[in-house]
């Protein structure tokens, strides 16, 4: 019998809300969540190194690297470490979030993309393994040379060891209680052209790598720093107002519609295309107010500029946004 995969028509618009479809323990204090569209549709495409913003039911937003399989367009997987000092982000995920719950999702965005190279040296510290995991398969597919140095406090605290096992000797697992601090210089070897070092982990590890790579060619080292879990501003789940500066019209955007839909309902045409925050067609100038960016286009600096938004997916952090429409 031939296994076939049906061609599923894409949804016209993409809900920015996904359902938790699996919650699985991976190591001490580390679990993975699998997320899928409530309607079963395709999720936005992503590349290794990407993260999503999860808007938790308690209103907090947290960023998690995608560590699943990009060839499965229907599922995202994220790894979540229970942080000792958590004030409601990872603790909420570990203790309260259940299979079946809905979470808001922004992105995916990628500040840590895998660039072409003949040789990759991956260094992961603790939960920093999550963005690295999909990069390994990518490096395999690209036929590149690669090795991974993976550190953690204890073997029992290190996630995905089972998934790494098939890679054999290319993966060097070094729990601190057995081996002490990571031997970065020994792992990296002599400085050379044509290699890229990808590292994700706690700040002291990344600082040590910066020192270790000081004599390497420029742009060799690429890192993703954990952002320490902060209180953060809860995103707006209540309706907000959008004022259109050119016409003087004000409309209310309720949680169940996008800004784009709300604009269309009152006859304001804003051209869009993908309606998933990916293509950039619906870029709209923001004159006042802070958007709640949910797109996959703007980098961090561009987000902070608060001067434009993609109205197909992005919303508002403030009670009122003023748009140049």
């Amino acid at each position: 019998m031939v296994a076939t995969t049906p061609l599923v028509p894409a949804e016209a618009t993409e809900a920015a809300t996904l359902r938790v479809t699996a919650k699985q323990r991976q190591a001490d204090d580390v679990l993975t969540l699998e997320l899928a569209s409530p309607s079963g549709g395709r999720l936005r495409d992503w590349t290794p190194g990407s993260h999503v913003d999860l808007v938790l039911p308690n209103g907090l937003t947290r960023q998690y690297s995608l560590c699943g399989d990009r060839w499965d367009p229907h599922t995202y997987r994220v790894g979540v470490l229970l942080e000792p000092g958590s004030r409601g982000g990872s603790r909420y995920v570990h203790e309260h979030l259940q299979v079946g719950d809905l979470v808001g999702v922004g992105g995916p965005r990628n500040n840590f993309p895998l660039v072409p190279s003949e040789e990759y040296l991956f260094v992961a510290g603790g939960i920093g393994i999550t963005p690295i995991l999909p990069m390994l398969r990518q490096a395999e597919l690209l036929g590149a040379e690669w090795r991974l140095l993976y550190g953690g406090r204890r073997r029992g605290s290190m996630a995905f060891l089972d998934e790494l096992a098939p890679y054999g000797e290319r993966v060097v697992v070094r729990p601190e209680d057995e081996y002490g601090l990571l031997d970065l210089a020994g792992f990296l070897g002599a400085p050379r052209e044509g290699a890229r070092v990808y590292a994700c982990g706690p700040s002291p590890l990344l600082a040590a790598l910066e020192r270790a790579c000081a004599d390497w060619p420029p742009y060799t080292l690429r890192t993703e720093r954990f952002v320490a879990e902060e209180g953060g501003t809860p995103v707006r789940t209540a309706p907000f107002e959008v004022e259109l500066a050119r016409t003087g019209t004000t409309l209310t955007v309720t949680p169940d519609v996008s800004v784009l839909e709300a604009l269309n309902r009152i006859g304001v045409e804003v051209l869009s295309s993908c309606r998933r925050g990916v293509c950039g067609t619906c870029e709209t100038t923001v004159l006042a107010g802070r958007p709640d960016h949910r797109d996959a286009l703007l980098d961090d600096d561009e987000r902070d500029a608060n001067d434009c938004m993609y109205v197909c997916v992005s919303r508002s952090r403030d009670e009122r946004l003023v748009l140049d429409l």
């Binding site: 049906p6 061609l7 395709r42 590349t47 990009r70 060839w71 060799t220 269309n264 993908c274 309606r275």
Partner: protein
């Protein structure tokens, strides 16, 4: 042409040649017939599967996992046939190789990067419109505007030198013909392929490109290691291949649409901010890029039909853009319509990276025209330009009245 489903099978078959001159002159009846025949139709002449309905075309475009591009987005299957040039790192690539070049080009051509061009292009468009109108009220909209404006602004934006720019249109024309079968259109371009390719490749070199421009931005990305120095010239080549003919024919399309829909021109005159919508509506209505192929990476089920792994699938973007299942009154060029979601620029990870450039060019020229021209109408017989992939005009004679 007839599209029939033999008894006992779910797969209708058709003997139509989508690349014949008869069809290229007016593909609309074939599009309608293929849409009505079923969600997927076997084209016997080329032994490929065709999608002509919006839902299926859209779904195939976004599904890069099952519908790959690296085996070529034309009829030729790169698994078995040698491409006529080194494959594009964007159009003819799949993840993961597609990722880095796409990321670089998308940023270089992104809406935020284009802001610095807007004012200059608006002034260039006004100057061109003044020049054309000064020569009299009757002119050819293709030669005077649609083919002139992109060639004035785009090569400068890329940063290629002046000499040889007349090679851009013939090169692009051949590249888009080469996605079709090896027919007379391909044969006609063949004698110049080596010469044109050599010229285009020479423009992609770092030392030839201006220090500021899309080309320099792409090379700067290679300095940072975001792409390799070997990839940089091929990414520049994508700009020069896909960035000229397409916008020329897109602008021709919107000018023809207005020349044949005077009420819509009045609408634009009253509301010049509709220029962007007008261009996208024209891209939907005319679909300057008519078709692209994909190749099945697995046995894919479409409706009741299984397309076997390795087979070519012809996606009729143009037919999807006029599918009455998706669009009401689809044959009407209508500025009150929301054309969002059309597949004229494709969709998904391969969606046209230059779409914002095309929109900016079209918006500039339409805004400049609407400011000066009260009416625009046809002034003689129009002539199509046949291409295996593009829906194009050779000539659109128009007559205008100015304010």
């Amino acid at each position: 042409m007839t599209a029939t489903a033999p008894t006992g099978t779910a797969l209708p078959t058709s003997d139509v040649d989508p690349f014949s001159h008869e069809v290229l002159e007016d593909p609309l009846p074939m599009h309608a017939e293929l849409r009505e025949a079923g969600p997927v139709v076997h084209l016997a002449r080329y032994d490929v599967y065709a999608l002509a309905r919006y839902a299926e075309v859209h779904a195939a475009l976004v599904d890069w996992q099952q519908f790959q591009s690296a085996a070529g987005v034309g009829l030729s299957n790169f698994r078995y046939e040698e491409p006529w040039r080194p494959p594009s790192l964007l159009l003819e690539a799949d993840p993961p190789r597609h990722d880095a070049p796409r990321r670089v080009l998308q940023k270089v051509l992104g809406p935020r990067a284009l802001r610095r061009l807007r004012e200059g292009w608006a002034a260039d468009a006004e100057a061109l419109v003044e020049e054309v109108l000064a020569r009299g009220p009757a002119f050819d909209a293709v030669h005077s505007l649609a083919a002139t404006f992109p060639l004035r602004v785009f090569p400068d934006a890329v940063g290629i030198p002046q000499p040889g720019r007349e090679n851009l249109l013939p090169y692009g024309d051949h590249a888009f013909n080469a996605f079709g079968p090896d027919n007379d259109l391909v044969a006609r371009g063949a004698p110049r392929v080596a010469e044109l390719s050599a010229w285009v490749n020479a423009q992609c070199r770092r030392e030839v490109l201006a220090p500021v421009g899309f080309g320099a931005d792409i090379w700067a990305a290679s300095d940072r290691g975001d792409i390799t120095p070997e990839q940089a010239p091929l990414v520049v080549r994508s700009l020069l291949t896909a960035g000229v003919d397409t916008t020329v024919h897109g602008i021709s399309a919107v000018l023809y649409a207005f020349a044949t829909n005077p009420d819509q021109w009045q609408r634009l005159r009253e509301e010049p901010a509709l220029a962007r919508v007008a261009f996208d509506e024209a891209v939907r209505w005319e679909s300057p890029v008519q078709t692209f192929f994909r190749t099945a990476t697995t046995d894919v089920r479409v409706g009741d039909v299984v397309i076997p792994e390795g087979r070519k699938i012809l996606m009729f973007l143009a037919a999807a853009n006029r599918d009455p299942r998706r669009w009401s009154d689809p044959d009407r060029f209508d500025l009150s319509r929301d054309p969002s979601g059309h597949v004229g620029f494709g969709m998904g990870i391969h969606q046209c990276a230059g779409q914002h450039v095309a929109r900016l060019e079209a918006e500039a020229i339409l805004t400049a025209l609407a400011r000066r021209v009260r009416t625009i109408e046809l002034d003689g017989p129009t002539v199509r330009h046949h291409n295996n992939t593009l829906r194009a005009w050779e000539s659109i004679p128009v007559r205008v009245r100015v304010d």
